[in-house]
Amino acid sequence: MSVFGSPVRRSAALSVVMTAVVAIVFFFPIYFMLVSAFKSEPEIISQTFSFLPLDFQGLGQFQRAAEIAPLGTYLFNSSLVAAINVGVTLLFSALAGYGFAKFTFPGRTALFLFVISTMMIPTQILVVPLFVEIKLLGWVNSYQGLIVPGMMNAFGVFMMRQYVYDIPDEIIEAARADGAGEIRIFFFIVLPLLTPALASLAIIIFIWSWGNFLWPLVAVTREELAVLATGITSYTQPYQRQPMWGAAMAVATIATLPLLVLFVFFQRYLVKGLTAAAVKG
């Protein structure tokens, strides 16, 4: 009796085909974005779809995007904000994680709860009072205002504390016995041991920072301070002009590209990062 003809085998094959179809349906809009960045305007707003551009634009849509709005500035600002967010969060989180995990001091538990309780506060709730706060500080429409209020994330402290806790006390004690100072121990003993955890944290913070829309939307109104996430609206909701869908797809592709690269090369870390980041939401 042939195995291939058996109903069990056939239904299993059918189930795989169905799963593949589901995957393609979910992926299609991403493909649409990527391919539309190289299509002409009438081909994008069209009731039919061609898998490859019929009227290939080369990098034309990207050039058009850069002509209409300061795309380079958006890209620079997004990168700057992400770099500072990642750097500050990594440093402050490692410091605090070390302090909370390896030292005893009065109020340790209370301060730790104080820090991690802020993980439950969504930006949506903070946006009004934070805006008033930076207005009082004179930071509206400035890099400080754009970057500082969001440059640190309590999730990092929570995560680093767990990892520092796993570092054996003997290593730290041995360094102390050898006469190393506390700051030296942190930078030359603790920090190197945290490298893998810091890499995961960097990916998580990068994703959050790169996609952050709400804070840049309210903190800055000047175009030269906009990031990609807010800048993209100057193509889809332009002031006194028709929307430029091709340019919008080109910018959408640029905004997705770093995440796509992370996904292709570090899929495991990215999935882990996104799953862990879910806790913060």
Binding site: M33, L111, T118, V128, T233, T236, A276, V279
Partner: protein
């Protein structure tokens, strides 16, 4: 590491690590190490919460100093048609962004949990919607859902029409917001379910198979009870996210929440009151109310997580 953290947060108290053994008197160093983080959160998280509560009791337009009006903003909100409409819209969105997402994300996670040919490729394609930032998701779908766009081209012929106003029709646009949200959230929550499924021992399921249990019995009697921590996490996260939703509505609908406030969510209302009308007091009061809802959901999550 990720799933460990997730479980720890979902199920266990965060303070129950045993005390460190380094109990020498290095108090000041410990305080010094935690100081930058503590100060940062004091200034940019805890203070604004208190400040927001204060602002919610005042009338404040950013120009003249805040003026204390007691509960005026709260009573005003509940008499405000836009606020009541926003509550209704938000509740509808929350429903659409939770129940279908839970069911479909778990169902798809179970499909991708099985072994089959080139599974990783299909899995990568399926996960891809989590990649673009939410505002980019909104832009992609705005193009797909153009009245004369591709989705109209696919669906229109069935109804014999050549133009569909997906985003400017009050009923359709509400449905579309939910579908687009669920398109990015289903793969995301499938990821979390899959991480949870990885912790369900295979031999338990196989033992069930040997005892002659049906696939359904194995799922409902063995797999699902073991997935409870994941289920609590998925339920809480999706609910909290949905209550704050505003990005899709902001970017995709006419007049940022239209047509005629059909897609005005609480998140959008806070933005409109605060940064369009400069009614900071009312915006702060709406934020406080939204925060109360989110705290309730978090409390429910912690309570459910503790139940055996």
């Amino acid at each position: 590491m990720a799933m460990n953290d997730v479980r720890q947060m979902a199920g266990r108290s965060v303070t129950d690590l045993p005390a460190p053994s380094l109990t020498r008197h290095r108090k000041w160093w410990g305080l010094l190490f935690v100081a930058p983080a503590v100060l940062f959160f004091a200034v940019f998280a805890i203070f604004p919460i208190g400040f927001g509560v204060y602002l919610s009791f005042t009338r404040y337009d950013l120009l003249t100093p805040p003026q204390w009006i007691g509960l005026g903003n709260y009573t005003g909100l509940f008499r405000d048609r836009a606020f009541l409409v926003a509550i209704g819209n938000t509740m509808l969105f929350v429903f659409g962004a939770t129940v279908p997402v839970w069911v479909l994300s778990l169902w798809l996670a179970l499909r991708f949990d099985r072994c089959f040919a080139s599974r990783n490729i299909w899995k990568s394609l399926f996960f891809s919607p989590v990649l673009p930032p939410l505002v980019v998701v909104a832009v992609i779908w705005k193009v797909l859902l153009h009245p004369n766009g591709l989705v109209t081209g696919l669906v229109g012929p069935i109804f014999g029409v050549t133009e569909i106003r997906w985003l400017t029709d009050p009923v359709l646009s509400r449905l579309v917001m939910i579908v687009v949200n669920d398109w990015t959230m289903i793969p995301f929550f499938s990821m979390i379910w899959l991480a949870g499924l990885a912790g369900v021992p295979d031999d338990l399921r196989r033992a069930g198979e040997l005892d002659g249990a049906s696939d359904k019995q194995i799922f409902f009697l063995i797999t699902l009870p073991l997935l409870k921590p994941t289920a609590v996490l998925v339920a809480a996260l999706s609910t909290i996210n949905a209550f704050q939703a505003f990005v899709l509505q902001y970017e995709m609908t006419p007049d940022r929440g239209g047509p005629a406030d059909a897609n005005l969510t609480l998140g959008l209302l806070i933005l409109k009151y605060g940064f369009q009308y400069f009614r900071m007091g009312e915006a702060a009061a709406a934020s406080v109310l939204l925060f109360a809802v989110i705290l309730l959901v978090t409390a429910a999550q912690l309570w459910l997580g503790r139940q055996k």
